[in-house]
Amino acid sequence: MSDDILYSIRHLTVEYKTRAGAVRAVDDVSLDIRRGEILGLVGESGCGKSTLGKALMRLHDGPASITGGELWFDGRNLMDLSLREMPDIRGAEIGMVFQDPMTSLNPVQRIMDHLTETIQTHEPETSIATARARADELVERLGIRHERLRDYPHQMSGGMRQRVMISLALALRAKLVIADEPTTSLDVIVEAKFLDLLKELQKEFGLTILLITHNIGVVAEVADRVAVMYAAKMAEVGTTGEVFADPKHPYTQGLLKSVPNIKLDGGDLYKMGGEPPSLLKPPSGCRFHPRCPFVMDICSQEEPAFEPVVADHLASCWIYQEAGARNSSGKHQVHNG
């Protein structure tokens, strides 16, 4: 694995056991996250992006489990570790910022204690005084006044709480920060400030950020690269500029067309036909084929590989591939993009 790749996700599959059967929320997904970049992961609700984010820390909701794939983080396959060793990585090397800061903070715990607890959990030799001092420094950098640390979560504003969440993720200088829909519960102005903050932190601390969102606008603003998920699979990956200028996958095309553009003069809003598929019984072949305006015969028969179309711009679509383009072992190739 080359040095500029911090996290290499290979053929990850996460399954939910439901009463109706097994559902794959993430199905054979491969993705590389480069050091120091902000990678935006977009897709509709239910496409599996949140599940993917959590799986990067080997976290999942109750009935789900990681049933396949490898998670190469910083030279180690996290799947090789026992579950008992994972808490050491969580919070220390990989951090997470959640969608709703109000519910993500313990209502009966003071903010200061949130921070010191995290610090002392990972570095038990730290004295409480040192921990408090570090917490002070941390939040100051993020614009929270020292006195506010004694507050309880419900006494703070939404934006401040979100900044607390960031500081929690950064408390131990995590290398990778996963932000799961961090701006969804914020209003536009706070959101803008938040994104600026994100970019600053990236530069200052050399953070790598995986930004999971359904809001394409946010991605366009801050992300260096974009990954698009559809129905538990990777549809497209590339630099933001390229993907926005020249989307390869028909789904991405539709997605970009659906964004209301204030500059358009009149005209109807574009709406993609059809509905997202059930993951219990996904469509055969390419999952997007029932809704695809360019559907061909082969699309309903075989799944396309996730391959480069142009250098570092990958997509999984038969338009750019030939039927026999797979290698003899029948596996998809993942080329570092």
Partner: protein, 365 residues
Amino acid sequence: MSPIAIIALIIGVPSLLLLAYVFARGSTGLRRYILTRIALTLPMIFILATMVFFILRILPGDPVTSALGPKGTPEMIQHIRATLGLNDPLIVQYGRFLWNMITLHFGNSLVGGHRLILDEMSERFPATLELIIPASVLALLIGIYGGALAASKRKQALDYSLRIYSVIIYSLPIFWLGLLLQLFFGVRLGWLPISGRIDAIIGTNLKTVTNIYSLDALLSGNWPAFFSVVRHLVLPTITLGLILSGVFLRMTRINVIETMQADYIGAARARGIRERILIYGHALKNAMIPVITLIGLQVAILLAGAVLTETVFSWPGMGSYLVERISARDYTAVQSVITVFAMLVALISLAVDVIYSLVDPRVRY
């Protein structure tokens, strides 16, 4: 000083201090909350006392006549009725009743010696306290720890066994449990006494101040007495405590499981906080908040259980007093006892609400 007064002081003074502290330091929201709760307690006592009053007045017979039995001549009956004011209009009686309750003038026992009811209660009430306090503590310990344990080992054998335990305990008639314990530990094994509060001989040597014998024994350094009381306490406490623990266990378990599904637990887990700390530290603390209010409601079960436990173990507390007095048709006493119970219930509810407000920072600030 009478034992009741002493107990009232021991409990009352710190409570008032705490209340004052809370008032001084708390926010306006907190103050308003506490005042509202106090204001609601009074109507509650009032309603309950009224219910008691009317229930006992709709007797299809005359209490005095049945109390005196065949010995009562018409003149005696009239005389006593007049003394008790039973011939006055209902409204007047009601007013007098309320006033008496507030000033703790319970009157005399109708039957068997005309003892001052207050005197009798000053022996009985501490006895009941001596039973229900350790029982509650036991129930809380088993219930809360067991509930958290069951939640942590969810869907495994331990969880199911604990749930079965709590359902079975709930279904056990408390008097039956008491009798079984008596049978096994008292009769079969002979380890523990099965009735009374203290060995008779040792009891006569005990200098009683509060009438809570264990406390009195400690205060006067009377170790034989202390151990005797403890030995007598074991079985009744276990009986009452076990039954209550079932309810607490269920409540705690459900609340901890629900709390564990909260976002902030997931967020903490994502920071590397270990499961054990998540359950016993974070989730349990949060789960305790609704559980506290639910615990307050269990006072009713506690007191009902106390009545039965005291009867089974011949423990001379308020509960057995009530049953005795009813069989003896001593309605003045019955009335007084029930009113005291009502006051107890109301006060404990109030205390629980105040504690709740202190524990939940969302109310405090």
